[in-house]
């Protein structure tokens, strides 16, 4: 699980080698510049041979979490599972820069340190609309623990916007990791295309969750990629999302109850 990895460490489960091969496959035979033709899936990969900086390694706990999320959302062959009911088609996980500083400021009194966390959101594309964002903590303590305090988010040019926290720390959808919803705080920053944000988290939680919030969290963004290449879910499925009560009601009004499904011919 998110918590089982212990200390944050560099990922060993993915082999990180310099890229090869795709460039030749993805360029038109006439040698024309192809960057405008390739879908984003390939475009980011095809340009960086030679002069590209070495690839950074992901945090191993983050990678484990995302692998489990993948198994929840997709079959072994990679086809999105038809049973899921969310609206997003993209999930991005960012780990903070310099988390050591954050951890070293930990207090034993139960209050979380307020050293700011810096996240680079440069990978979020303009066509990706933020639907939900959460701070993801290692799962320890009671899932329904009440937290109080404040969160402050700021971009490079903004003055910072504080959000009082009086919410519960939720156990994530996949039952791994404690989530603190920060959508309200980040929505304007992400919508404005802010590439780097600083988050000051100053929360205290009951129910044994204090230990969890003292470790630096990761930032999880649930996005809807609106580009042509992204998978768009049929409307009727999206409308069943439990996260969108309005849509849910609309779907219920349109669709017959399960017990009254059309009989087989």
């Amino acid at each position: 699980s998110w918590a089982s990895g212990g200390e944050a460490q560099s990922a060993a489960s993915v082999k990180l080698e310099p890229e090869a091969a795709p460039r030749s496959l993805l360029q038109p035979v006439d040698g024309a510049h192809s960057s405008g033709l390739l879908p984003p899936f390939f475009k980011v990969r095809s340009g960086g041979r030679g002069g590209a900086p070495p690839r950074l390694q992901p945090d191993s706990r983050a990678l484990r979490y995302m692998k489990k999320l993948y198994k929840t959302y997709a079959t072994k062959e990679g086809v999105p599972k038809p049973t899921r009911s969310h609206l997003y088609n993209t999930v991005r996980l960012f780990t903070p820069h310099s988390p050591q500083k954050y951890a070293s400021g930990g207090q034993v009194t139960g209050a979380a340190p307020s050293a700011p966390l810096r996240f680079s959101l440069g990978r979020v594309a303009a066509v990706e609309r933020l639907l939900k964002s959460v701070l993801l903590y290692a799962a320890s303590g009671s899932p329904g623990a009440r937290c109080a305090g404040s969160l402050t988010a700021s971009g490079p040019r903004s003055s910072g916007r504080a959000l009082p926290v009086g919410a519960r720390l939720q156990l994530g959808d996949d039952r791994r990791g404690l989530e603190l919803d920060v959508t309200q705080l980040l929505q304007p920053l992400v919508a404005a295309g802010t590439r780097s944000i600083r988050l000051s988290v100053n929360v205290t939680c009951g129910g044994g969750a204090d230990r969890a919030v003292r470790a630096p969290p990761s930032l999880l963004l649930y996005l809807n990629d609106t580009s042509a290449q992204a998978h768009r879910r049929p409307r009727f499925r999206a409308a069943r999302s439990p996260r969108r009560p309005g849509l849910h009601r609309a779907a219920a009004a349109c669709a017959p109850a399960k017990s009254a499904q059309r009989p087989r011919r």
């Binding site: 082999k15 080698e17 990678l63 993948y70 997709a74 996980l93 998978h231």
Partner: protein, 135 residues
């Protein structure tokens, strides 16, 4: 009336070995006609496994086979395909006969490690061919 005689139906084997689905498949898609084929690859073969974490294997599938002279209903081909076939056969051989191409696709979920070490789960449309047609 110039249509080639229909395919010879394979004789159903003995009752013990009778496989209805296989029999129907051969009946509906005579050998060599346009149909879906598997092509399983691993991202390691392309050396893309450094940034694609999952899935490890991928079967995009592909369409191959000849398009029958009278394009059958099962291909869902437009009338244009029939006309092009006639042109190719009777008027000008330089006009290509209809091609066997994918008609429908499934999406693919991909988990990638980004250059900045963030991790992204993404669903891409039209990544796995699921049906073929003649166009």
């Amino acid at each position: 009336g110039r249509d080639a005689p229909g395919p010879r139906l394979p004789r159903p084997p003995g009752a013990a070995a009778f496989n209805l689905s296989e029999y129907l498949r051969r009946f509906l898609t005579p050998r060599g006609e346009c149909e879906l084929h598997d092509f399983r690859l691993s991202f390691r073969q392309l050396r893309w496994d450094s940034w694609i974490v999952a899935p490890q294997r991928y079967n995009p599938r592909y369409c191959q086979g000849r398009c029958p002279r009278a394009v059958r209903h099962r291909y869902g081909s437009p009338l244009h395909t029939l006309v092009q076939n006639v042109i190719s056969e009777k008027l000008d051989a330089a006009v290509p006969a209809p091609s066997c191409v994918p008609a429908a696709y499934d999406p693919l979920s991909v988990l990638t490690v980004e250059p900045d070490a963030s991790i992204a789960y993404k669903e891409y449309d039209n990544m796995i061919a699921t049906r073929c047609t003649c166009r």
